[in-house]
Subunit: 516 residues, 2 copies
């Protein structure tokens, strides 16, 4: 299968690429932008022309795989902040952490992802095993539990996953992206761990201050019961479920059309589904549906509805019902869910990429977390089929980074990318040795310190380096200071300068940087 890239000249990805190209930009935008970009983009990505030596293009487009990105130091500083918030929450809820390899045996991933399986990256057969890059962290987690015969664990896992999807960088959709997963495995009483997962979503999205959000919940058993009650044949449950899942991106008319004309469902069944999937509410909706003549006859639907009711009672105790909506249109694409499912969406319009892509974004601001219960997955890896019930949530952190980056851009505060507390500088020539000796003392004392890698740097350029990278202090050595056995400590912000003995210097640096 060849993915069809660059078919749209106004594709934000295409424009993004153009924006990245400094030298190329002016030339391109002098002409008809969309046409030229379309052409260039196609040319770049066509294998046969890969070795065309067009100097203006080569350094940008040919260097990085499509749909991936480097993180520069500023982005890393933001990423670290987001991870710290997420990890702090996971730890507050008592989770351990594990790690698994970036690739799995191909068969480990087979039959777990439904229609999305086509997006899995395979490794080349170089002799040995057939391997694939992980598609999520859930299947590796289940494999880990089965392999180690673990029946109880609460763990988080933060790592990159891989999907050969059509990337859109401005919307935070990449082919390589981080997931932050939190899962609870074990045989417990109904809905208690499930409720904690939703509590965690609520805490993290609130703390990150991304704007208002909703957490939609539904249950696979309710969906299946609903499909049965609406007259969907058993063997069409999964595929109709996939179509319902598109309701956040497509109108009901288009979804119905796919059900009837592509998937061969009767129009009557589709219309019945249409009634249900328009329903939203809270605990009250679950209670009402338990009385619904169609659903109440279906055992699966009833147990799902009772559990949703129970869930809401726990969510009230966790004080998170303000953001949670029971939404019958929520389906989730993956095959492995067996019970409760949920998805968090940011509801504030205009958060990201709107300048390029407003129309599309107004339909769906986008999901930033999702998950559910998967009680059968671990058993698929156990030779005796022993089940380990699991529930978990995954944060699609890339989109969150995109929003945080935009916030940092528009903020007045400068993002520091190092933590250097003091630059060891010299006021005259031939003092490299003295600078190296002093910085060695500072490092030994655990102080974050730098010297410039020049024999004889100018004092001005040393001070400029501090201004640029936000270093708050300069320890200046001159001939006079050496004679007096002191070091001049300069505060960059105020230009205040005081001489200190070597012993006092370290104390003073500590004092000043712990204050900050």
């Amino acid at each position: 299968m060849t993915l069809n890239h660059g078919h749209d000249p106004c594709n934000p990805e295409t424009i993004q690429l153009a924006k990245m190209s400094g030298s190329f930009k002016s030339w391109v935008f002098g002409l008809n932008p969309s046409k030229v970009l379309h052409l260039v983009y196609k040319l770049m990505r066509s294998r046969s022309l890969k070795h065309v030596q067009t100097k203006t293009i080569k350094p940008l487009w040919f260097f990085q795989p499509l749909g991936t990105r480097d993180y520069n130091p500023k982005q890393m500083a933001i990423r670290e902040k987001v991870f710290n918030t997420v990890v702090a929450c996971f730890k507050r809820h008592g989770a351990e952490t594990i790690d698994t390899p970036v690739f799995e045996l191909k068969e480990t991933l087979t039959g777990k992802y439904g229609e999305d399986s086509k997006l899995i990256y395979d490794l080349k057969d170089q002799g040995g095993e057939l391997l694939s890059l992980r598609y999520d962290l859930t299947v590796p987690f289940a494999r880990y539990l089965a392999m180690n015969k673990i029946t109880n664990i609460k763990r988080y896992h933060i790592a990159k996953v891989y999907r050969r999807d059509n990337p859109s960088m401005t919307r935070g959709r990449y082919r390589e992206f981080y997931q932050c997963d939190f899962d609870i495995a074990g045989q417990y009483d109904a809905m208690i761990p499930d409720a904690e997962c939703l509590k965690i979503v609520h805490e993290i999205l609130s703390e990150l201050e991304l704007g208002d959000f909703r957490i939609k919940v539904n249950d696979r058993r309710i969906l299946d019961g609903m499909f049965a009650a609406c007259g969907v044949p058993d063997d069409k449950f999964r595929t109709i479920c996939s179509t319902v899942d598109k309701l956040d991106k497509m109108s009901w008319e288009d979804v119905k059309n796919e059900m009837v004309n592509e998937k061969g469902l009767s129009e009557q069944a589709a219309d019945l589904i249409g009634e249900f999937v328009s329903m939203q509410g809270g605990r009250d909706l679950a209670e009402r549906l338990l009385q619904n003549p169609r659903l109440s006859q279906n055992k699966l639907a009833c147990s799902g509805l009772s559990d949703v009711k129970l869930l809401f009672s726990y969510l009230e105790l966790f004080q998170v019902t303000d953001k949670v909506v029971f939404d019958l249109s929520l389906a989730r694409g993956l095959d492995y869910y067996t019970g409760l499912i949920y998805e968090a969406v940011l509801t504030q319009a205009g958060l990201s990429g709107d300048t390029l892509n407003g129309a599309e974004d107004s339909v769906s601001v986008g999901s930033v977390a999702g998950g559910g219960r998967y009680d059968g997955l671990v058993g698929m890896f156990d030779p005796k089929g022993r089940k380990v019930p699991c529930v978990g949530v995954s944060f699609g952190i890339e989109r969150i980074f995109t929003i945080m980056e935009q916030k940092a851009e528009s903020s007045a505060d400068k993002v520091r990318t190092t933590e250097v507390q003091v630059l060891v500088a010299s006021a005259q020539k031939n003092l490299l040795e003295e600078r190296l000796k002093l910085v060695t003392d500072l490092w030994k004392a655990g102080i974050k310190a730098e010297v410039m890698y020049k024999k004889n740097p100018k004092l001005l350029s040393q001070l400029q380096h501090c201004e640029e990278s936000g270093i708050p202090l300069v320890a200046i050595l001159g001939e006079q200071e050496l004679k007096d056995g002191v070091v001049k400590l300069r505060v960059v912000a105020t230009r205040e300068e005081v001489d200190f003995s070597r012993a006092d210097l370290i104390r003073e640096i500590r004092r000043r940087t712990s204050e900050a």
Copy 2:
């Protein structure tokens, strides 16, 4: 190319696999271990038999790619500690951090790794670009610099890299493993950034307390000058260099044999090389070699030797000469080095894997860090060939983990895998709602807290959970406490119990856990 796995029945990997298999172990070791293992191992890894349903074997061997490992929570706790030490050192030296994708365009990696290129993992051609998993972090760094036209940066990068090498788990050699890289890019005065890299190796290896170590240094220019002086033809420099690099694993006789019989070098040239590569020393050796009649006529060798001399003068100021050895046998395998090269080895015998593999380990305890100067690499990615001089070091952290794990195993201290401060427990039935309310309050106050996911857990099993996972405090709710409006706080270690009001409880938990 097919890698030849499992050819050795006493291979530590094979035995390691056997040790991992609980159920299988007893059966295997009842028979002749090496023969059975050999057979089973071969059977498992042969593609054609992959789907054999042997229940005793399947859950262990078929589940994880060869040469990779999962990290369990205990290993992750140790890993976090190591990373914290490494990152703290990098930050102390003023480094920023970046990240790059796990795969690069295949052509990005082509021609950078010499004979090791055969170990690169390629992705399957699924339409689109040809991709490979990164082999190290240095080439992606150079690509990043060229692509973003960066001429000055001091950055660290901690990430996994991939090599289709013959794995040996007991010796900490994997196909997926972490590297911790620190590099300084920019046009600076000679040997100042180079010396800081060695200072960092010294600091990190000292702080991790891995036992005694040596940092060997040499210079590619000295090697090339030496090859020229010994009569090695120009076009054989790189391949002879690769052979010299094997001196840490092979005897001089075997190395000479490879030079003469495989690579077609004259015996006379090989013997001359043999004299040089046996030399070790410090600044004095550099000074002596500058007077050597053969070497002193070679310009390259002289500039290398002068720089090594200068390097040692900086290393003295950095107070690290106790561990640094100028060693003419150090060659390093990679193609891209242009100047100074170095490698840190642990010199303490018997650190790892010796029970299984003593003979091999006594030859080389193993390199834990390596690096050097690569002034030409960035230019290979720049359309105009603009060079950015770079020097850096990479820590092979997997081997360090192995040692730290062994230290943790033999230590009496239990490694905690969560940071939970308090378990919210109940003394009677029907108090789930009260527990959920209280834990919500604690989370809100930023306290790391848990409840057991049962409606009516027994108090004893709640207390046992604390003992097992090292949770220091229990907040106990009972009917009497609820009536009195208090919570009983129990200290797990001392069994001391005191009642607190809700407001005081949080303060008391904070006080007790900040003390710990």
